[in-house]
């Protein structure tokens, strides 16, 4: 194929990008930087400094960070086990693992709601067993649980993909040179899997930071994440300008964290001694 015809093939994607990414972004910027009358203002952005918004942002940041960390701690050993036993190749286990992802995201989260409710499945079971009830519905813990449950596969898969590509002989070479299992893990496997860890973190942290569905369903009405605040401005409050302004702040946060992670990656390569 020559250059010209391949370029033509790119047009549909360009149209798609323009229509569904660039234009909405520009519109958010427009709304965020204007007031109801259409006059330029920074108020919508500065509004983030209010205690209420700062609290929501802070809560979102901490909950999504904690969830990302938990996902990472669960996923890495899991991905290692999948790799070690070449389970990834017999796709059945992976299939079982991915199966819940085929269910609607909303449905899965609502299922957790019924499980965790005061008189829900888990508590009924506990009372039958004469154990104290579990009171985590409508707490940050329930939100973290929902985030970890929903986003875990997005951490496992990129890490597994990177690990699976590491040649067995690279690990054998480390062992051959005297490294025990722990050293092989910390000096060889971990550094080599950093790209997977980073994309895993990105794929969990960003949706967790912006979610409002999980906090709505599992956090009750009292716990407001920044995602809930923005959602409410767009729906109930009908203040699109404020919602857009806060979204922009959130985007900047995400950009900053991604840059920090990418930078850490470069420094993480270390020097000779």
């Amino acid at each position: 194929m020559n250059k010209k015809s391949t370029r033509i093939l790119a047009y549909p994607y360009l149209v798609w990008m323009a229509g569904f990414t660039v234009i909405p972004l520009l519109m958010i910027c427009y709304y965020g930087l204007t007031d109801r009358t259409g006059a330029f203002t920074l108020d919508n952005i500065l509004a983030v400094a209010s205690t209420e918004h700062m609290k929501a942002l802070w809560l979102s940041l901490s909950l999504s960070l904690i969830s990302t960390l938990i996902c990472l701690l669960i996923s890495y050993p899991l991905a290692l086990i999948l790799r070690q036993h070449h389970i990834g190749k017999s796709s059945f286990v992976v299939f079982i693992f991915i199966l819940p992802m085929w269910m609607n995201f909303l449905l899965r989260t609502m299922a957790w709601q019924t499980l965790l409710e005061k008189n829900g499945v888990i508590n009924s079971l506990l009372s039958v067993l004469r154990l104290p009830p579990l009171a985590i519905i409508n707490t940050p813990a329930a939100i973290i649980l929902g985030m970890v449950y929903n986003f875990l596969p997005f951490m496992v898969l990129p890490i597994y993909n990177v690990l699976a590509k590491i040649d067995d002989n690279v690990m054998n070479a480390a062992r051959d040179l005297g490294a025990d299992n722990v050293t092989t893990l910390t000096k060889i496997l971990l550094p080599l899997s950093i790209p997977g860890i980073i994309s895993g973190i990105t794929m969990v942290f960003v949706p967790a930071l912006t979610t409002f569905v999980i906090s709505n369903l599992l956090g009750g009405s009292k716990i407001l994440l920044i995602g809930n605040v923005i959602e409410q401005e767009f729906t109930r409050g009908s203040n699109w300008n404020l919602g857009a302004g806060l979204s922009m702040v959130l985007m900047v946060f995400i950009l900053i964290s991604m840059t920090l992670i990418a930078k850490y990656d470069k420094n993480g390569e270390g020097t000779a001694f």
Binding site: D176, L177, L192, E269
Partner: protein
Amino acid sequence: MNQPLIDLVNISKSFDGELILDDLNLSVKENSFVTLLGPSGCGKTTTLRIIGGFVSPDQGRVIFGGEDITRMPPNKRQLNTVFQKYALFTHMNIAENIAFGLKIKGKSKDYIRDKIKYALKLVNLDGFENRSVDSLSGGQQQRIAIARAIVNEPRLLLLDEPLGALDLKLRQDMQYELIRLKNELGITFIYVTHDQEEALTMSDTIVVMNQGYIQQMGTPEQIYNEPENAFVADFIGESNIVDGIMLRDELVEIFGARFACVDKGFGQRTPVDVVIRPEDIDLVKPDDGTLTGVVTHLIFKGVHYEMEVTTDGGFEWLVHSTDMFPVGQEVGIHVDPFDIQIMNKPASEDEEAVGVNE
């Protein structure tokens, strides 16, 4: 100095119910260059991995310097491996790669720095300390893999087809470099290849393997000049392998013609395999030959002509000669008695499958 450094005793190994190594015994002397040679899938890498500790044998023992190391993990063994596809650590630069083993052993920074310099000089890559693995050519990566292994001063170095991925010229250069390295360092080498020329050039001892068995073990001269069976003869260099009948001591019949030879003790009228190297066949005038045939193919190979001479039974003899005989010419075949190798027909059917008659 000539103690056995490593002894493989009655080693057997199966994968998925398939027997890969069958009761293998191998003894390697200190300071020798031993090559495992054999076709793809014959168990060379498996043997090496058992010595390295990456695979544990189903049966048998691995003795290293008098100590049984069969169950010892690889990181405790005093040997190093150069892997088939280098297996360098791509997230480290060259210096870090070479330093890896030394850092684990807790050597001082000065010691490590000197060792890296020394090793890089040894493999002719001075000044490559800060290069990344990706920026190196295949041959250079190979040499780094060797440097990374030898800085640890192992008593034994295992090399699994280390030159397999290199082009011919680089291969030959590296062959000489490896021999030089071995002599300079005084390390025992166990080397795996399926290239018979490489084996003949480099080794003190060649171990010819096929289907999990050792077919023959000996010096390159012994393996080439006195192959013990048809498989070895066929695998090492080119050869004509024909059915013959040993009429009595020093006389063998091939295609109805009688050839004088030097072998004895096969009994009378015993069917045997006769091996004659292409360069050992002299083409003469039809009347002077023991057999007569017609030249059916002629190729110029640089150093010699390669010809195919078809004799009455339809057998095509491969002949190497500096004299040229045109296609269609009738010629006589003469072979000096000491150039004829007689070997027993393989006893079992198992081995029969092995003797290739091409």
